[in-house]
């Protein structure tokens, strides 16, 4: 630069800004949907909603909201020890921000198995075979060999994203389905670069039943 100084101001990176309307819409749909679904006999609260903090690699902040649909409850006994197992269908929408590099949103569908060891806490194991993950990148430029530099619209990549999770939750006897939960989730992104990428996520949230 000879004699002229061009001052570029940093462009603010707001991937959440692009996604916030989608998140709000999804929450609204989750709230309205159960009103049209008839509860089945045997399950006092067959639907529940949950929402909470979602930390990709533990500290990149995000949020996750979703709905659970109860499908079976079984009272079991093993070695004179009685416990209850609940199996739920579950669906989630999540978003996180890795400050300085990217954001991402994802949708997961799968099952979760909750085991009530005591009437205070439960352990849960989840498996989401169906998952779609979309990375949201800041300003991105495409370079083709011999071609011009072109800005990319809606930069990011789609990945197939199955996940497994393990965690604990609070069982509130007076209102089953209500309470805090905490879980660790391992998500795989496929295909990522030439192979795969794994994400470790911490999920802390609250569940409420739908009446």
């Amino acid at each position: 630069m000879k004699g002229i100084i061009l001052v570029h101001r940093p462009k603010k990176y707001h991937p959440l800004g692009r996604l916030l309307p989608t998140v709000i819409l999804f929450i609204i749909i989750l709230l309205i949907l159960p009103a049209f679904i008839k509860a089945q006999n045997g399950f006092p609260h067959p639907w529940s909603l949950h929402a909470g903090y979602y930390g990709n690699n533990l500290w990149n902040p995000g949020l996750q909201v979703g709905a659970d649909r109860q499908r079976v409850t079984m009272d079991k006994s093993r070695n004179d020890h009685e416990f209850t197992v609940e199996k739920w269908f579950t669906g989630d929408l999540g978003y996180y921000l890795d400050p300085g590099s990217h954001g991402a949103c994802f949708i997961q569908v799968g099952t979760v198995r909750r085991k009530y060891k005591e009437r205070m806490f439960y352990t849960q194991t989840g498996f989401n075979p169906l998952g779609i993950y979309r990375s949201i990148l800041p300003e991105t430029f495409l370079v083709t060999d011999g071609g011009p530099v072109e800005p990319v619209k809606f930069p990011g990549n789609w990945y197939y994203a199955p996940s497994v999770s393990w965690g604990v939750g609070q069982y509130y006897r007076k209102l089953p389905g209500t309470g805090w939960y905490a879980k660790l989730e391992l998500m795989a992104l496929l295909p990522y670069n030439t192979y795969v990428q794994f994400l470790i996520n911490l999920n802390l949230g609250y569940r409420i039943p739908l009446r």
Partner: protein, 342 residues
């Protein structure tokens, strides 16, 4: 229920605020991505945007762009120039979909050329661009210049411990360990341990015992640190960059699945015969005690490079990372080179 929605929106807004960087006139702190041949690669751009010099850093094997961003870079180089820390294809936070490349080093060199094109497009074509490649990044930078033609866009090349010739390095590494071992025994620095290393090394063949020699070289570098020959250095910034600023899981997994240095080793890659095509000012920086890429590599490279303006600096208290062990001296030399050639 409305309360839940309200709280979620508040959380979202807080997150959005968290993602905003500070804005100062004349200063840049932003991340842009380069999409090239199926990969989306982040370039972290920091520093003085009113400067007419841009320093582009190409990291080495198993590393990541922001690993360089320690206090000396922030307080000196970023005040003087725009500094670009680049995550290469398959490394750290780079992502995308692409098949395993046939010639990954050449493709990574093409990526660097693509990055330079983007930087010129974004920050001005008439600025002076300097390429700093460390270790394997030195070879990738060289490939970018001689195979992808980026030399015409550059005002200078800084080669830091550049691994430009793997067959040469194999031979030089054993000789360097033996030489430094003898020096340390003469100096009385833990002669027992050095004798043990030398005895294990003597019977090894540089071609067929690559891994074992590399392991002994690593032990020798540990010994240089424990005996106080090389200062241990403050690693607080490094730890923060590795675990908090960078994403350690992404880095770890990417590094496991994508190891371009293995491809370079497998084909005994050498680009020293292309060094005569380099005509831009070149600064070679090597650590005197570098047993990973010995300083003899720097001497050989300086001898072969075609530039009329060329210099080799040996850092007297450094091994493979002179920017960690002698940070003030390092940034001073880099700044001087850029100021002399921009």
């Amino acid at each position: 229920m409305l309360g839940v929605i309200r709280n979620l929106i508040i959380v979202g807004l807080l997150l959005q605020l968290y993602s905003c960087g500070k804005t100062e006139a004349g200063r840049v702190d932003e991340t842009i991505y380069v999409r090239h041949q199926g990969a989306d690669m982040p370039a972290y751009v920091h520093g003085n945007l009113s400067s007419n010099a841009v320093l582009v850093i190409v990291h080495g094997a198993g590393s990541f762009g922001l690993s360089f961003r320690e206090e000396s870079f922030k307080s000196v180089l970023e005040k003087l120039f725009t500094v670009v820390y680049f995550d290469q294809r398959g490394q750290s936070m780079s992502e995308g979909h692409y098949p395993k490349p046939d010639d990954v080093i050449r493709l990574m060199g093409d990526d660097v050329s693509a990055l330079i094109q983007v930087l010129k497009h974004q920050y001005g074509a008439d600025k002076s661009y300097f390429l700093l490649g460390h270790s394997l990044g030195g070879m990738i930078a060289l490939s970018s210049m001689v195979n992808s033609g980026s030399q015409t866009d550059l005002a200078g090349w800084i080669c830091v411990d550049g691994a430009l010739d793997f067959p040469f390095i194999k031979q030089a590494r054993k000789e360097a360990v033996l030489q430094i071992g003898d020096e340390q025994i003469d100096a009385g620095n833990d002669p027992g341990s050095w004798n043990d290393l030398i005895n294990r090394l003597l019977s090894l063949d540089p071609d067929s015992d690559y891994d074992e020699i590399l392991k002994i070289a690593g032990e020798a570098m540990d010994l240089l640190t424990t005996t106080g020959v090389i200062p241990a250095g403050d690693s607080k910034d490094r730890l923060r960059n590795a675990i908090v600023i960078n994403n350690p899981v992404n880095w770890l997994v990417s590094n496991y699945f994508n190891q371009p240095v293995q491809a370079a080793l497998a084909e005994d890659l050498s680009l020293t015969n292309r060094l005569n095509a380099i005509t831009i000012p070149t600064l070679f920086i090597y650590g005197k005690y570098d047993l990973s890429v010995p300083p003899a590599m720097g001497e050989w490279a300086k001898f072969n490079v075609g530039s009329s303006s060329k210099e080799l600096l040996l850092f007297e208290q450094s091994m493979h990372h002179p920017f960690y062990s002698e940070p003030e001296h390092f940034v001073e030399q880099v700044a001087q080179f850029i100021n002399n050639n921009k």
